[in-house]
Point group: C2
Chain length 210, copies 2
């Protein structure tokens, strides 16, 4: 990330602190407990200071979702999105308070007047792109079919993930990791559990050959 100085950098730092405090409250007590006052106390700021940066509860909650994604999606931008999806799905549904916020906000996303609309549009574009990039690596290594539609496959995998998550949260009677990995294997022909290992081997082989 490019480092900036002066007022802009201070604003960014302040916004990040507020997002961290909001995410902490969501994680500990659930998103119903989020108020500007609670966030201000947690972040060591004044309530007007919080409201200056995030004038509504929705904007605070979106900031918490954005921060979570920065922590979760960023590390996968250089590989691992395909291999890690099942584990992420397994861990994700167990973060009860966070996933209830996620679910409630994603349910609002179809409403163009709600701030969740733009957030989820950008989120799915980004996460689909990260996964499509990872599938490209696997394709270039010869591990999936050369004619696989990378963007569509990424979208379908994330769609199954969203839907399995929702069903699991209502009725946790199945292994969400196994289910998601089965869908992924069916769509690509490649078992995600083997993807990381095969990719490392293929890249190692290429290095030793060239």
């Amino acid at each position: 990330m490019v480092k900036t100085r002066g007022p802009y950098a201070r604003t960014e730092t302040r916004r990040r602190e507020i997002a961290e405090a909001t995410l902490a409250i969501v994680t500990e007590r659930g998103h119903k407990a989020v108020t500007a006052l609670e966030v201000a106390e947690k972040a060591g700021l004044s309530e007007p200071g919080v409201l200056y940066h995030f004038p509504t509860k929705e904007s605070l909650l979106i900031a918490a979702l954005e921060l979570f994604d920065d922590l979760e999606i960023d590390p996968l931008e250089n590989g691992g999105a395909y291999a890690e999806a099942g584990r992420q799905a397994h861990d994700g549904v167990r973060r009860t308070n966070f996933v209830r916020l996620y679910s409630e906000m994603s349910g609002e996303a179809p409403n163009p007047q709600h701030p969740a609309h733009d957030f989820f549009r950008q989120r799915w574009e980004r996460s689909n792109a990260v996964l499509a990039d990872d599938l490209r690596r696997l394709r270039d290594a010869g591990l999936v079919q050369p004619d696989l539609d990378l963007d569509a496959t990424a979208r379908r995998i994330h769609a199954a993930w969203e839907g399995l998550q929702l069903q699991w949260l209502v009725s946790p009677k199945f292994d969400i990791r196994a289910d998601l990995e089965q869908v992924m294997s069916s769509l690509t022909g490649l078992d995600p559990a083997q993807a990381a290992r095969l990719l490392a081997r293929a890249q190692g082989a290429r290095i030793s050959v060239t």
Copy 2:
């Protein structure tokens, strides 16, 4: 359906009329427009009469979702769930007002205190069972692998459907029918567009043989 008489039948009739009025308002003006008074006027009842049967706005909205499912899922209970899913997904996302209600309520489903929780638990159990039954027909006709896990496949298909619907509603840049049918083909090995035709042929062949 078994016909009942007396007070119970009258209660059921009245509840159905209220559900129909609610669904009509949702379809015409969106679920934000639903109030007990609006529903009462539409159904030709008093507001207390509506509130007697449905004491909260959530219970009215759940009644509208239930009625919609009775109209949509029932006709598929004797076949066609697999063949029709793609068309239903295509039509479903275009019912803008209804699908926004559906999406918002499904987002609340993970919260066990919300009435959407029980509704969606039962809904997914029911629709998964209807689809698994249909897959059983296709399996018995030799059109899908004999070892296909019918219940898990039904759950995964509905999961992909939910997730594709959500992405489409936020960013309608893909053909949801094609996407869902591709996921279904990958999971079962059988193209849904061919399923109805092949099943009819297989059943015809069986009848002509025996």
